[in-house]
C-alpha cells in the first residue's frame, strides 16, 4: 500500500474524478461535487418519498419530512414574523444542504464539502448580498439608518457608525469561517486520534478508541448544530433587513 495520506489534512484534498476543461478553466467533476450531488439526491429522495402518501395522520417517513419542514418554518416565523414565509424556500434549502452535507461527511472515507472555505464562503456571500439587496429593495436609501444604533446621541455617531459598518461587513466572514473551521477542526481531530489508536497497539489503543467514539458523537451533534446556527443567523440577518431594528 502506498505510503500517502498519512497527514491528517490529506482527507480534505480535492480530487478530480472526471477531468473537464473549458478553455483555460478547470471544471472537472471533483469528489466535492460528487458529495454535493449525493446530498441533493438524498434530500430529494427524503422529501419526495416522505410525502408520497400524503396521509392526514403521517407515518414515520412523512413525519420526519414534515418535522424538517416545520423546524425551519418555525425558525423563520419566530425570528422574522409572518413576512418570513417568502424566504422559506431559500432558508430551507440552505439548512437541508448544510445538514445533509455535514452528516454525509461523518461516514468514514467520505468527503465533507462544507470543510472547504470556498464552499462556505460562497454560501455566506449569497446570504450577505441577498440580505443587503433585500434591505435596499424594501427600504430604499433609508436602509442605511440600520447602521445607527437606536437611542444613541448624535455626538457618538462618528464612533458608532464605522463600528456598526465593520461589524456588518464581518458577517459573511464569521458565518463562513464558523462552519468551515468547526468541520475542519473536528475531522482533523478525529483523524489524529484515529492515528493514535493504530500506533498505540491493541492494549494502548483502547483509550484513544474511546475518545474517538466520544468525538464522533460530538461531531454528529456539531454537524446538526452548525447547520442550525448558520440557518438561524441567516434568519436574524433577514429580520434585520426587513424590520430594521
Amino acid at each position: 500500500m502506498a505510503a500517502e495520506g498519512h497527514s491528517p489534512l490529506a482527507q480534505f484534498e480535492i480530487k478530480p474524478l472526471i477531468k473537464l476543461q473549458m478553455g483555460q478553466m478547470d471544471v472537472s467533476y471533483t469528489n466535492s461535487a460528487l458529495f454535493m450531488s449525493f446530498t441533493v439526491i438524498l434530500i430529494v429522495i427524503f422529501l419526495i418519498f416522505g410525502m408520497r402518501k400524503g396521509a392526514l395522520i403521517p407515518g414515520r417517513w412523512q413525519s420526519m419530512a414534515e418535522l424538517s419542514y416545520e423546524f425551519v418554518a418555525n425558525l423563520l416565523r419566530d425570528t422574522v414574523g409572518a413576512e418570513g414565509r417568502h424566504y422559506f424556500p431559500f432558508v430551507f434549502t440552505l439548512f437541508m444542504f448544510i445538514l445533509f452535507g455535514n452528516m454525509l461527511g461523518m461516514i468514514p472515507y467520505s468527503f465533507t464539502f462544507t470543510s472547504h472555505i470556498i464552499v462556505t464562503f460562497a454560501m455566506a456571500l449569497v446570504v450577505f448580498f441577498g440580505v443587503t439587496i433585500l434591505g435596499f429593495v424594501k427600504h430604499g436609501f433609508h436602509f442605511v439608518s440600520f447602521f445607527v444604533p437606536p437611542g444613541v446621541s448624535v455626538l457618538l455617531w462618528p464612533l458608532m457608525i464605522p463600528i456598526e459598518i465593520i461589524s456588518y461587513l464581518s458577517r459573511p466572514i464569521s458565518l463562513s469561517v464558523r462552519l468551515f473551521a468547526n468541520l475542519t477542526a473536528g475531522h482533523t481531530m478525529l483523524k489524529v486520534f484515529a492515528g493514535f489508536v493504530v500506533s498505540m497497539g491493541i492494549v494502548g489503543g483502547i483509550l484513544p478508541l474511546a475518545f474517538v467514539i466520544a468525538l464522533t458523537g460530538l461531531e454528529i451533534l456539531i454537524a446538526f448544530l452548525q447547520a442550525y446556527v448558520f440557518t438561524i443567523l441567516t434568519c436574524f440577518y433577514i429580520n434585520d433587513a426587513i424590520n430594521l431594528h
Binding site: 464558523r178 473551521a181 468547526n182 477542526a185 448544530l225 442550525y228 446556527v229
Partner: protein, 75 residues
C-alpha cells in the same frame, strides 16, 4: 530567527486564544444551569438560545485555530 521557527512559535501563541472560548462556554452553560435550576419551566425557552450562544462562542476559538493554521500552512 529563521522563518520556520517563527511560524511554529507564532502558531503556538495563536492557539492561546482558545482560553477565551473556554471561559465563554463555561459562562454560557453556568447561566443555563442556574436559570433552569431557578425556574425549571423556562427550560424550553432558554435551551435554543444556549446552543446558539455556544456555537457563537466556539466560533471564536476556531478563529484562533484558523490563525494558527494560516501561519503553519499558508505562510
Amino acid at each position: 530567527m529563521e522563518a520556520a521557527a517563527a511560524k511554529l512559535i507564532g502558531a503556538g501563541l495563536a492557539a492561546i486564544g482558545v482560553v477565551g472560548a473556554g471561559i465563554g462556554i463555561g459562562t454560557i452553560f453556568a447561566a443555563f444551569i442556574t436559570s433552569v435550576a431557578r425556574n425549571p419551566a423556562a427550560a424550553g425557552n432558554v435551551t435554543a438560545m444556549t446552543w446558539i450562544g455556544f456555537a457563537l462562542v466556539e466560533a471564536i476559538a476556531l478563529y484562533a485555530l484558523v490563525v494558527a493554521l494560516l501561519l503553519l500552512f499558508v505562510f
